[in-house]
């Protein structure tokens, strides 16, 4: 612990050491608290006047920041910092302690195990209670999936309607037009949402076996992405592709909405269409496969 020598003092003056006086820190802390006080008053006024988001944020910043800065500076520059040293106590207990613990445990276990029949019965009873009470807890949360994931509201003869419920006529779309449609009576439904596209005026066959599905150039696909279920909303007329905005899967409209890019694993299911005598678009039948993302039971 050498004391401060005159040379050292001179040296300090030479390198121009800042004088760190405590009174200076006191002033800083005081200003900081005063600033906080003013900001709090300002906050009160702003609030009283009906509030204003940006002013509130800024004033909160100064009210809290003034307090914080002042307290930290006080705690750092105006109270002793040590360093202090403290011994760590051993975390581990002495061997004897553990030995007694184990003995005590064993004593209890032997005392209980003496009545082994009761132990078993108790175990079974607790387990039964647990299972029985768990059941309503889980089971009441939602219906069993059953056929839920396999069906939509599309049936044979469902008329195609817009989200406002109005029916769609074959004359409604130009070439390149798209429309989100639903089965009549279920406008706006999340599961049955279907995208209706008209790439041409001629009948379109997207795949073998779907000869009659695209009358007068109308094609309808489930709008629920087979990847993670986002609505496949963007039709790019030029390339005749549907884009899912969530992870950029692309589906080729003319070949049965086959995924041509991105993470989607399966084509969008196609809805077979027909046009009735009054020119309204109808579904020939519902979807012939589950729509949307995959799940375990689905083959």
């Amino acid at each position: 612990m050498s004391s401060s020598t005159p040379e050292l003092e001179q040296e300090k003056v030479k390198v121009g050491l800042v004088k760190t006086s405590e009174s200076r820190f006191e002033k800083v802390v005081a200003v900081s608290f005063a600033l906080s006080l003013l900001a709090s008053i300002g906050l009160g006024i702003v609030y009283w006047q009906g509030g204003q988001t940006q002013a509130e944020g800024a004033l909160l910043f100064f009210a809290l920041g003034g307090l914080g800065f002042g307290i930290v500076a006080w705690g750092k520059y105006l109270v002793p910092q040590g360093p202090y040293v403290q011994e760590r106590e051993e975390l581990k207990s002495p061997e004897s302690e553990r030995a007694v613990l184990i003995e005590s445990l064993e004593r209890g276990v032997t005392q209980i195990e003496r009545r082994s029949f009761l132990v078993k019965l108790l175990g079974v009873s607790i387990a039964a209670f647990g299972v029985i009470t768990l059941f309503p807890f889980i089971r009441s949360l939602g219906p069993q999936p059953k056929k839920m994931l396999y069906v939509t509201n599309w049936k044979k003869g469902s008329a195609l309607v817009r989200s406002d419920g109005s029916k769609v006529r074959a004359s409604d779309l130009e070439v390149g037009g798209v429309l989100t449609v639903f089965p009549e009576g279920h406008a706006g439904g999340a599961i049955s949402q279907t995208i209706l596209i008209r790439p041409s005026f001629e009948d379109i066959v997207t795949k073998p076996g779907r000869e009659t599905w695209g009358p007068q150039g109308y094609l309808a696909y489930s709008k629920v992405c087979t990847h993670a279920g986002c609505p496949v909303g963007l039709y790019q007329e030029l390339t005749q592709q549907l884009l899912c905005p969530c992870h950029q899967s692309l589906f080729d409209v003319m070949t049965g909405a086959n995924p041509v890019f991105g993470p989607a694993p399966r084509p969008l299911p196609q809805l077979p269409l027909e046009i009735d005598s009054q020119g309204f678009l109808l579904a020939q039948a519902g979807y012939d496969e589950p729509i949307g993302p995959g799940f375990w039971e689905r083959a």
Binding site: T53, F261, P293
Partner: protein
Amino acid sequence: MNYKPIDWVDERLGTAKFTRKSLNKIFPDHWSFMLGEIAMYSFFILLGTGVFLTFFFVPSSADIVYHGSYAPLDGHVVSQAYASTLDLSFNVRAGLVMRQMHHWAANVFVAAIVVHLLRVFFTGAFRKPREINWLVGSLLLMMAILEGFLGYSLPDDLISGTGIRIAYSITLSVPIVGSYLASFLFGGQFPGDKIIPRFYTIHILLVPALMAGLLGAHLAIMWHQKHTQYKGKGKTEKNVVGVAMWPAYAMQAGGFFFLTAAVIAALGGLAQINPIWMYGQYIPYKVSYAVQPDWYMGWLDGALRLFPSWEITGFGHMIPTIFFPAVLLPGITFGLLMGWPWIERIFTKDTQAHNLLDNPRDNAWRTSIGVGVMAFYMVLFFASSTDVLANAFNLSLNFVLWAFRALVFVVPPIAAYVAYKLAKEASSASRAGRPRKAMVVSRSNEGEYTTEESDPRIEVELKRSAMHSEVPQPLPEEASFHAAEATGEGTSESEGGLAMSASSLSSAATGEMSERPSGGPEVYQVPPGTPGSGGGLFSPRGPKLSRSFEDPEEEK
């Protein structure tokens, strides 16, 4: 001072011992120990602002016609959740600040946890005896992410609704139980009207309660085990060197809460976040694009984009493609995270307890693994903006996607290799990372310049402002307490309470503490306001030094 309350409580609960130990606890001082604190303070701010929000938010997806003060949506049919969030933002005084602070605090919270975790990882603070806290911390991280997702989902806007839809599909993708799990969690098939009220309960009650419990455990364990410390002069595996809890640490840490809150308040007031009125109400068949989730979901979104369209079918069953990036990947991620202390032990065979932290550069293997893993998740994170990047740089989506699919395999090993080399290099350079000595240039009266290295003592002296002592020493109260205990003197203490221990201390302490002939009770009665009153106390030459610092000229 009135010590009655202390006596009163102690006679009933016997708290004096614990409180004494706590006040005199020593905390190692390092900026990186603040990271956990930022997380904790953000959590408090989340609780505070969150309670405010619950007073106004209506967790219901029932439709109403909106006639609030946001004119563009007037007359629209929206859910009550959405409408009440708009009212909260536009009609409740300070509502928008609170809402935006809540959202910002959530982002800061998860960020602070992650950086804190990295600090713990790279310094090896997870090693024995701190594995339990590593597990608790990992659970906290998982819950924080879950909680953030749930909160994000509540306003029922277009973006959050799309997020729930994806979460539903992910739940559905779990093998064997997926369809049941999805139906039970979401109350039937998506969308349904049970999701918002259910998420609400989980968000405001279940998860916060669990987190509060885990955080309490985290802190209690840390308190009990005492902090780790970086290697340095006087620091050993068996001691803790730093500032005292009372008052220095308490003030610094307490003040830091206000600073954290101040930054979050400024963000909440000045930086717009999640303007749901611009997105519109959730409508299942509508989409918006360039949708970005909160940052901590980015890696999952990126993984969903990059993973190929593989779907496994056979035996009448299917493992959907999103199972791999969205269920398996997080499972592996958190599994490896939680298992790390044991995984590392397989290789190091190290079963010792460690209280001294590693400098990351001295453990090149761990550091390079950490950097590699970080790089992997960073690539995934950036992959969540493939569309934005493609637009911004006028590239084809196809190119960007394939580039990222390559980068996710290429970048991590390169990053790990570079980190390994750098760490090796740095740790072999002996003085790397230490402060340089100042060069002093002086001009003599004759105009001659000389250069010399500054007196190293100055550096030391500089740090020894009045508030710093030269060598680490025990707190005087503790030293005397233990000395008194050793000589059997301490037993009489309970009578006089704290006031007495101060006087019984001085005589006992002097012997081993300092060369001061007699400490005497006057040590505790330095008049308030005396310059250096604090610092002079414990450092024998404090007062003198501080005088010389105040005004060196005066001495001449």
